[in-house]
């Protein structure tokens, strides 16, 4: 069993943590806190971690989170997947759900990688 190829991730992340191991590898974040962004409608064949309920919706950057390869690449263990910035995006619940029954101030926050976001027009 010693020739089983594994644990490359462990070896490069040990002592740093994940996603800290990707810090500094995504360049300058495209968005800043307060920016209005719209979630793109990208194809989601086989895998995504961007919830269906936010696609096409416009929200606001609440936090610039960390750098990491997108889950859509990590899930297939793609070795040269480029790290990108992740953001916590805040949405007004009334913008997400038709006939939302809570208040106008209720919100939902979810984390989205940069390639899924575009500046809101």
């Amino acid at each position: 069993g010693s020739d089983v190829v594994r644990n490359a991730h462990h070896l490069h992340a040990v002592g740093k943590g994940d996603p800290q191991v990707y810090a500094g590898k995504a360049g300058t974040p495209r968005f800043a806190i307060g920016d209005a962004v719209t979630v793109r409608e990208l194809p989601v064949l086989f895998y995504t971690r961007t919830p269906e309920y936010v696609r096409g919706a416009t929200g606001e950057i609440a936090a610039v989170s960390y750098e990491s390869p997108a889950a859509e690449d990590e899930t297939w263990d793609i070795p040269d997947a480029p790290p990108e910035w992740f953001y916590v995006v805040s949405f007004k619940q009334a913008d997400l759900w038709h006939g939302y029954t809570g208040t106008a101030s209720d919100t939902l926050r979810t984390e989205i990688p940069e390639h899924w976001l575009t500046p809101a027009v």
């Binding site: 040990v14 994940d18 919830p51 960390y66 809570g102 209720d106 919100t107």
Partner: protein, 236 residues
Amino acid sequence: MSDHSHDHDHDRTVKPMVDEVTDFEVLEIAVRELCIEKGIFTAEEHRRFTEFAEQIGPTPAARLVARAWLDPDFKALALAEPMTASKEVGVDWMEPTGFGTPSDFTAFQILADTPQVHHVIVCALCSCYPRPILGNSPEWYRTPNYRSRLVRYPRQVLSEFGLYLSDDVEVRVQDSNQKHRFMVMPMRPEGTDGWTEDQLTEIVTRDCVIGVALPKPGVTTNVIVDTRRAVHPVGE
């Protein structure tokens, strides 16, 4: 042989520990033994991870909240550097592998409630949960019911937990769908003046740091969900 009378004493027959070994258990043993045989992991590593998973629980999270209530500097640290603050209640997010657990990651954030904002967490995609500091997730947290309804009907779901929030409070649902893990820091309730850290820790239940309950003097256990009666109960 064929005249076996079948009158031996069944009560004295050696029995297995369980009535039945399920398909799940058969598969668990098969997968684990194959992994050990192939060198994917060792029996020692399996034991160590099991021991890690068995010693985690919600107490460190409760103590962190209680300490933050008593110490404004610690509260500031908890909100700015939550993993540093976690160490002060005995939780090192880098354990047990040296790079964190493979499924909980090392991007932890604490969401502080205010008089204007109430946070509640969910993982609509699966069951992501801040296990190193909060232990294993409750069964209901993993259900498609909670995951699909909390994002859409948060006030109704919270009311089923007995938590009714007024309309001047923003309900902020946090869906943990990537590497961040979240816990809620509720506000310190009235009627706790002069309480010690231990007393305050006791009322910060697991449900309070998920956000489906508020801490209350005298309440030291999780909420019992107000389950609706079955429309067609079994046996009718």
